[in-house]
């Protein structure tokens, strides 16, 4: 079990065999003023564990728990094929090339179930390798092809340089627009097809390919971004949007009508603003540093 220890008590119940968890598929109607538990699948936590993306799970879990909303987290590792329809949110994070290749192969078996769940409105929040593998394919600079799930209409090619910097983009969800910040660290160049829209519009940083000012991809409840950081802890608005959508599905109301108690976000805002200031200081730079230069030890 590689999940967060802190989440273990609520996790234990969910981490049983798929059959026994079926009871959770139809949640009991929530009493007035209360919410049903949010059920989260964390994809490949022991493979995709770089750059602190696990912080996204921590952010959603804590922000729900602080409001008295229970969270059930299930780690989905290699070789497991759960029915994704029983989850409200699926987290699919970034990883290094070697781990991504292992995941790409295994993910083929999970993709059909995830596709069905997405069709029913399950939320997916994907970062970096997760974004790339939700697309049609990833073609490395050496020409090797990794098949993706085709859930998002996008394709990624390995690029010659690595984008590594603080970045910021404007994201619109349900008519509300906010600045989302994070740290990009990728060399893949992603092109979106007509079947999906961008997750955000770059304000500072490279985004999908350093050229068209687009960041990530979005299709319905599937959100995919290149922003590490991790993204959700310093973008509480975005974390809350995901929580809202999750609750709205169970409660049958529009996400904007979900009654979500406000939290004191002073520390979150501060982290957001510092990251934003850093991103703005780099504004206009399409790329940051080439890894080869760094590996040679020139730290300028």
């Amino acid at each position: 079990m590689t999940e967060l220890d802190a989440a273990a008590d609520t996790t234990a119940a969910a981490a049983v065999a798929p059959g026994t968890a079926a009871a959770a598929v139809a949640p009991a109607p929530a009493p007035l003023g209360e919410h049903a538990p949010i059920r989260i699948a964390h994809l490949y936590p022991s493979l995709l564990n770089v750059a602190g993306d696990g912080g996204n799970l921590i952010a959603i879990s804590r922000r729900a728990e602080w409001r008295g909303i229970a969270v059930e987290v299930e780690a989905v590792e290699k070789g497991q094929t759960p029915d994704f329809r029983r989850f409200d949110i699926v987290l699919f994070h970034g990883g290094q090339d070697v781990e991504m290749a292992v995941v790409a192969e295994d993910f083929q078996k999970q993709a059909p179930s995830l596709r069905e769940a997405v069709a029913e409105g399950t939320i997916v929040f994907a970062v970096c390798a997760g974004l790339q593998l939700l697309g049609h394919r990833y073609i490395s600079s050496a020409g090797e092809v990794m098949q993706g799930a085709g859930i998002l209409d996008l394709e990624t090619r390995g690029g010659p340089q690595r984008f590594m910097q603080h970045a910021a983009c404007e994201v619109t969800i349900h008519g509300e627009t906010q600045m989302v910040v994070g740290f990009e660290n990728h060399s893949g160049l992603t092109e979106l097809g007509p079947g999906c829209e961008p997750f955000g519009r770059m304000v500072a940083g490279a985004g999908n390919n350093g050229l068209n000012g687009l960041e990530g991809a979005r299709s319905g409840n599937v959100f995919a971004t290149y922003l590490h950081g991790p993204c959700l802890p310093k973008n509480p608005w975005l974390a809350d949007q995901l929580i809202r959508i999750a609750l709205s599905r169970a409660e049958g109301v529009a996400p904007s009508l979900v009654d979500l108690a406000p939290l004191d976000d002073e520390l979150e805002r501060r982290a957001h603003d510092v990251a934003l200031a850093k991103a703005m200081a780099n504004r206009g730079r399409r790329t940051a540093l080439e890894p080869a230069r760094l590996v040679r030890g020139l730290k300028k």
């Binding site: 967060l4 022991s46 750059a51 290094q96 090339d97 590490h228 310093k234 030890g297």
Partner: protein
């Protein structure tokens, strides 16, 4: 076995070129000027000035003169291993110079050579022990032509600096493969990726690690490289000793831990201040007790002993030499702050953080905390890895935390999400003010745990020295 520590210049001694002389003289006076101006020890300015005047100054002083060099690289344990190696060599009567200030980039290493050299360009007799940043190694190694190269371990450390750990491993592998056959390559056999990069080595190779029949750690979220570096399948561990280091094998391709030349066969970590171990080499067994605590101390000790084995130097006084090496700069160092106890701990990545937090937990610490993170070039820009640190276990104990450094924002937010209530967190970015704030309300019977990255550590340490606190150790 012949010893590798004799000086052997490739040809008759050449006199110094005017250019190198100029670089030496200018570098030395730059250090002097900085010290006079009270701006620290001038650790990298010397090298920067000298290299500007003669870009080849380091190779002229070291490689061209046949100075025997021990280079120590890897993610963790470089400083401690360098100190152990220097102590062991000195114990056997060998003169040693080494870069103890942790200035391990090319400018810092050049500074070391320039400040040790006299104006004729001669370095003192004996061995130069050099700690080299794993990213700087490919550039530094050819200028040093090391007789012994040690790779401690490879952890995911500052991804934003290197992109990916695999690129670092590849770069180290090409340096290792390019060493002359008589030079010694010393590798941590318990780290799969380090063991892998040594496979292409033709020539002298020494492996070290732990050979004990129990696990001393478990694989956590912070661990990486637990995929087989050869075929990418999941490795199986008979025992896990520290993060991803252990006795492993690959069920699908058969890749496994190599036979160890130097092995820790018994290990006992005693409280926060001592580690006892038994180390087996081909020439016998050594009983060692070191006044520092942790499984990583056993790795560092085994590494240093493996270096001496690699160099062909005897180990007659090993126990005595290592027994006298106290904690390095900020590695769980206890300081008397005008009658109040302060525990200074350095943590730079998830692994070193988790190791330190586990050690503190054995003493029900930290209750009172000063914690700092800054983003400078040395510390890295991306602090996402803070979310891989197991702060959750620590959080319930924390009664109060002062959060400092230029990335206090990220750190405070992380601690909040780990479960430290926001009202127990105070952000004081300035390091000096943070130290005052943390000490101001410190209960009389409580010690302050100072947990910090590299740059804030130096700043805090300098401030403590200014206040006359350091150098006086408490008996823990």
């Amino acid at each position: 076995m012949t010893s590798l520590i004799d000086r052997r210049a490739p040809g008759p001694k050449k006199s110094l070129s005017f250019r190198t002389f100029l670089a030496l003289a200018a570098g030395k006076s730059a250090a002097h000027a900085t010290r006079l101006a009270g701006r620290g020890g001038g650790t990298s300015i010397t090298g920067m000035v000298a290299r500007r005047l003669d870009p080849r100054v380091l190779e002229r002083l070291v490689r061209d003169q046949g100075v025997p060099v021990v280079a120590i690289t890897g993610s963790n344990g470089k400083t401690t291993t360098a100190r152990f190696t220097a102590a062991l060599l000195r114990g056997e009567g060998v003169t040693v110079s080494h870069n103890s200030a942790g200035a391990n980039l090319i400018q810092g290493i050049t500074s070391l050579a320039v400040s040790y050299a006299d104006l004729r360009g001669d370095l003192p007799d004996g061995v130069l022990v050099v700690e080299v940043d794993e990213g700087a190694l490919p550039k530094v190694a050819p200028e040093l032509a090391p007789r012994a190269l040690l790779v401690t371990d490879l952890f995911r450390d500052q991804l934003d600096r290197f992109g990916e750990i695999y690129a670092v491993a590849d770069a180290i592998e090409s340096v290792a493969a390019g060493l002359p056959p008589e030079s010694a390559l010393i590798v941590n056999g318990d780290d799969p990726m380090v063991a892998m990069l040594a496979r292409s080595r033709r020539g002298r190779r020494i492996t070290f690690g732990l050979e004990i029949e129990r696990s001393t750690d478990r694989i956590t979220r912070a661990a990486d490289t637990i995929r087989c570096p050869k075929c990418r399948s999941d490795l199986e561990y008979r025992f896990v000793y520290l993060s991803h280091m252990g006795d492993y094998s690959c069920p699908s391709c058969g890749f496994q831990r190599p036979r160890l030349d130097v092995a820790v066969t018994e290990l006992e970590v005693v409280g926060l201040d001592r580690t006892r171990m038994e180390i087996q080499t081909s020439s016998g067994k050594l009983e060692i007790e070191i006044p520092q605590s942790g499984v990583h101390i056993a790795y560092d000790a085994a590494a240093a002993i493996a270096i001496l084995v690699g160099l062909g130097v005897s180990l007659e006084h090993a126990a005595e030499s290592l027994g006298a090496v106290g904690p390095a700069f900020g590695r769980l160092e206890t300081i008397d702050a005008d009658g109040r106890a302060l525990l200074l701990a350095f943590a730079k990545n998830p692994t070193s953080y988790n190791t330190t937090l586990r050690a503190l937990a054995t003493e029900e610490e930290p209750r009172q905390l000063l914690i700092a993170a800054s983003n400078t070039l040395v510390d890295g820009e991306d602090f996402g890895w803070l979310w891989d640190v197991d702060f959750e276990t620590m959080a319930p104990k924390v009664e109060r935390a002062v959060v400092s450094g230029t990335r206090a924002d990220e750190l405070a937010n992380r601690l909040k999400y780990a479960g430290v209530p926001a009202e127990r967190l105070t952000i004081v970015e300035d390091r000096r003010a943070a130290l005052d704030a943390a000490l101001a309300d410190l209960p009389a019977d409580c010690r302050l745990v100072v947990l910090t990255g590299y740059t804030p550590l130096i700043e805090l340490r300098n401030e403590m020295m200014r206040r006359g606190w350091t150098g006086r150790y408490w008996a823990v």
